[in-house]
Each structure stands twice: as C-alpha cells, then as structure tokens.
C-alpha cells in the first residue's frame, strides 16, 4: 500500500485532487484506493491536507496517514504557515512539489523529489490559479497512477472544464523533473 499526504492551501483543490487520484486508481485502473479528507474549519487561504491510500489489495485501514510514502505539496507557503511536512516521513519518502526551483535548505532536499511548475501550468492552460489538475498530472508522472486514468477522471469530474484540466495534467506530467 502507498500512503500519500497532500498539503496545500484552502481553495487549491487539495481534497478534490485526492479524490481524483483515488478514483483514477480504483475505478479507471481497477485497483483499490481511499481518499481520507480531514475536515475542520478550513477556510480559503488556510493550510489544508488530505490523505490518499492506494493499493492492489482491498484497503482495510480507516485512519489518517501518519507515515507517508509520498508527500505532495501544492503550495510551498504551507511551510511558512507552520505546517510540518516532514512529520512521519522516512528516508524513503518521496516528495512531489509545486515549484520550479527548491531552496536547498528545504527540509526534504535529501529526499527523492519531483518538481513541477503546477501553478504556472494552471495559469497558462486553465487560466486559473488552481493547481490541482496539474498536481494530479505530477502525481501520475511520479508513478502513483497512470496519466490516462488521471485524465479520464479529470475530464469526467470537471465537466465543461474537463478538457483543459486534463491538458494541464498532461503538461505537468510531461514537464515533471526530479533531483
């Protein structure tokens, strides 16, 4: 089982992205997945997180993710807002982040890290600063789920804006780089 933790800011579609990845794995790829949203008094601009579990076997665990295999950061500002993105990680934990360049002082610089300009892609392609579809593409690029499955769910979920969001996902997947 792969356990994933997504960090971001309210309004960036973190919870939706978790649901998209889960659905892509569970429905499009016929495996098992669970999105575990943390609900509280989230407000636009405040840090939010969401968990995803992916597996080739049925998932019994109904709990949050404490030891993520993957940490996905939608917005580096969560670090400034006091979110400890290193909580529960192991040396093997992989990071997927929305940023072109990463300050070497960032705590995860020793980890395998994928980078993508999700925000720029979102602004270019969907004309809105909502990075969730690009981040889904990045997660696909990092091997969590197939890009076609991800695009299929995005197209279905975003209805009218489905095509452009799928395009954003594809571009993020293509442009994904790693250390």
């Amino acid at each position: 089982m792969k356990q994933i933790k997504l960090y971001g800011i309210g309004g960036q579609g973190v919870v939706t992205a978790a649901k998209i990845i889960a659905e892509a794995v569970a429905i499009e790829e016929g495996q098992y997945a669970q999105a575990v949203p943390a609900y509280g008094h989230e407000r636009r601009g405040a840090p939010v997180y969401s968990d995803v579990m992916l597996s080739d076997k049925p998932i019994k665990l109904k709990s949050f993710v404490y030891h993520p295999d993957y940490v996905v950061i939608f917005d580096m500002s969560v670090l400034d807002k006091g979110v400890d993105v290193m909580k529960g990680v192991s040396p093997d934990t992989v990071f997927i982040i929305n940023e072109e360049c990463v300050d070497p002082s960032h705590p995860f610089h020793k980890h395998k890290t994928y980078y993508v300009g999700a925000r720029r892609i979102a602004v270019d392609v969907i004309k809105r600063d909502i990075p969730n579809s690009s981040m889904c593409g990045a997660m696909a690029g990092a091997g969590l789920v197939g890009i076609e499955a991800t695009k299929a769910v995005i197209t279905r979920k975003f209805k009218k804006a489905g095509e452009i969001n799928a395009a954003a996902a594809q571009q993020a997947c293509d442009e994904l780089r790693s250390n």
């Binding site: 649901k19 569970a26 429905i27 669970q34 949203p37 609900y39 019994k60 109904k62 709990s63 404490y66």
Partner: protein, 398 residues
C-alpha cells in the same frame, strides 16, 4: 452493477434512491448534509420520484417521515449527532407505531464540548429506543446495509425502524470504490413497499397512536421486544438473499482471525477496518490476535458472540463512546453480559477511544492488544490515547 467512487454519504444516498423512497424530509447537519443535498438533486432532476419536504428541524424531519410512511410509501431522512438527539422523542413514535423507516445516521459526537467529528455517542443514546442499529465498516457496507435494513425492517414479523450508522468523516466523506447495483436487481430483492399494518387511509379508517392504558402498554412493548427476536432470526436469511442477489456476504457479527486468537478486540464501524489492518500486521509478527465486528448492534447478537469468541482468553471492547458513570462503555457492557453466562467466562477489558473525531490509528489498536496480551487489564474502562494533562487542559492564573 457498476463500480463507482462514492463516499459513505454518497453510498447512503444511492441506497435510499435504489429503495425508491417517495417522500424525503431532510434537514442539513454536518456531516450528513451531502445526503440532504444529493437527495434534493435527485428529486429536482427527476432521478428520484419523490416529494422533498424541506423541513425546519430534525424533529419535523422524522415526524414527516412517519406521517408519510404511514400512508403507504417509503419515506427517507438522515441525520447526525444533535439532530438525532432532537429526533429522540419521535424516534420512539416510529418504533412504537412499528413504522419501518430506514435512516442513515452519520455518527458524530454529542455536545458538550462541541465537535463536528465522529464518535458513536449519538446513536448509543438511542440504543434502547426500539430502532435496529447497524454499523457500517465501509462505504460499500453503508449501501448494502441500507438495502438489507429495508428488507428486514419491512418483514411483517419485524416492522421495526432501522438506523444504518456510518462514522462521520471517516466513512461519510471518505471516497472509496463502491458497487452500485442496478435498479432492476434491487427491485427484485426489495419489492415495492406495502404497508399492511397501521395505515392512514380514508378507505380503511383507524386511529393510530392513541393513549394506551397500563393494562396494555407493557404488551405493546413486549410486541416490540419479540419483533427484535424475529429480526435476529430473520436477519441471516435476508443477508443470504442479499448475497445471492449481489454477491456480497454479511453477518450480524464478523469474526476476523478469531479461531486461534489469544486476544480479540471487539468494535463497531470503521474502526473495525483499522483493527483488521492491525491484526494483519501483528499476525505477520507471529502474534495471535483477532477482531470481532458487530454489524448489528440492535438486535444484539449475544449468542453469536459467545460462539465466535467465547473461547478467546483475552477480550477487549473498544467503545467509540463513553457511558459516563458506568464501569465501562455501552458495547463493552453488552459483550460482558453476553459472555458472563459461559462456564468459563473470559475477562472483558473495556476501552474507550476515538471520541470527538480523534483518529484511532493502528498504534492505538496495538496498544489495546498489548494491554490484553500482557495482562495489563484493569477492572474499569481504559481510555486510550488520552493526554496526560487531560485534567489541566485549561490552566489560568489562580
């Protein structure tokens, strides 16, 4: 049958849709609101041929449902927490008048303190009120248990309302792949509602729910008690029919790795899944542990529990609610009393965990197993995961 991503609320809504409820009376409350909203969508777009009564309270939600169902249609509502508490008075009317309403209850703590998150205190407060109570472990179980509940509740020997309980957020908002049966298959399993008992109909007048003297009141209650016996007798058959129709197996209690277990934890709801997960982990380490999930808390399957875990030396029960002033939690009390009739009754350790939405992760489960396996049991209930400074959370200058 199709496989789609649904959270527990979505699964509950699909269950109600497939049961063809004709009147919806719903009032929003976190974390149930998506059910009220989705049903409104379904009524508006014609997916569901029903009248939507946008009630002004949960009390009225249940009142409307009772009134509607007494005329001969399935009526649907859903609630959580203080909403269920507000319904309390009328829940008794549904039960006493033998109106087999099936209601999803999205478990959430009761005040005070305020909390939006999961525990079972709301449903436990209704455990003796004449409603059947089923607890789901997953979104799939939510949908399936709703269909099973309808089938069972409407049996002439049963005629009891039923709550299908799903843990707030952990199930209600956790998307998972769910098999949604086709309408025609559900129609075969669950035929159209036929009200053959107390019914409002000008063509056949009767006055329902009038005053009953003490010469008959006890008999009315006894009828309900017998109905719970019937429910228990008939439930395996209904679940077998469900399995025949849809391929998924259910039982009142599910034993997981209990046969050779030295320690077993008993629980309800989503926590059961986490315990199974932990059992798998601990079994890999060679530790003989198991889990017992009570799917049907009302009727309470005491005999089945004796059979399945009566032989286990160490038993623990994790309650996701507290029975304040009692030695242990409500589920633990029942498990203890079920087992104490055995010649060599196992000791049963009570635990309380996961109140107010506190997560119950595998580490907490492991701690409970450790308590059982290392003979660290105590007579009273053991609260898991409580901060050491619990009594000094709010310190102010003296």
């Amino acid at each position: 049958m199709k496989r789609v991503m649904l959270d527990g609320n979505g699964a509950a809504t699909e269950g109600m849709r497939l049961a063809r409820i004709r009147v919806v009376s719903a009032y929003p409350i976190t974390p149930q609101s998506p059910i009220s909203e989705k049903l409104a969508d379904y009524v508006t777009d014609g997916t569901l041929d029903a009248k939507y009564i946008r009630v002004e309270s949960e009390h009225s939600a249940m009142s409307c449902a009772i009134g509607a169902q007494l005329t001969g249609v399935r009526a649907g509502t859903a609630t959580a927490s203080v909403g269920l508490a507000l319904m309390h008075e009328v829940l008794g009317v549904a039960a006493g008048c033998r109106v087999p309403i099936v209601m999803p209850v999205v478990n959430r703590s009761l005040v005070s303190p305020w909390s939006l998150w999961c525990d079972h205190q709301d449903a436990m407060a209704e455990r003796d009120g004449g409603w059947m109570q089923f607890y789901a472990e997953s979104a799939q179980e939510v949908l399936d248990l709703i269909l099973i509940a309808y089938k069972l509740a409407e049996k002439n020997d049963v005629l009891l309302p039923a709550m299908v309980c799903l843990d707030g957020f952990f199930l209600s908002h956790m998307p998972d792949a769910v098999y949604v049966p086709a309408q025609e298959d559900v129609d075969k399993f669950l035929p159209a509602y036929k009200n053959d008992n107390l019914k409002l109909d000008p063509d056949d007048p009767m006055f329902i729910n009038d005053l009953t003297g003490s010469n008959e009141f006890m008999e009315m209650r006894f009828q309900q008690a017998v109905a719970f016996d019937y429910a228990q007798d008939l439930m395996p058959g209904v679940m077998a029919e469900f399995e025949e129709a849809f391929g998924r197996k259910y039982s009142m209690v599910e034993a997981y790795e209990c046969e050779d277990a030295e320690a077993v934890l008993v629980s309800l709801g989503s926590m059961s899944g986490t315990i199974k997960h932990t059992v798998d982990m601990m079994r890999e380490q060679g530790r003989k542990v198991g889990m017992l999930k009570i799917t049907s808390f009302r009727p309470f399957p005491a005999e089945a529990i004796r059979e399945l875990i009566g032989h286990v030396p160490h038993i623990g029960v994790i309650d996701r609610s507290a029975s304040l002033g009692s030695e242990t939690g409500p589920v633990c009390n029942e498990v203890r009393s079920a087992l104490q009739v055995l010649d060599k009754a196992p000791e049963v350790q009570g635990f309380v965990a996961g109140l107010g939405g506190r997560d119950v992760p595998p580490t907490t489960i492991e701690e409970a197993f450790d308590t059982l396996l290392n003979d660290k049991t105590v007579a009273a209930v053991k609260w898991l995961d409580v901060q050491d400074n619990a009594l000094r959370l709010r310190e102010v200058d003296a």
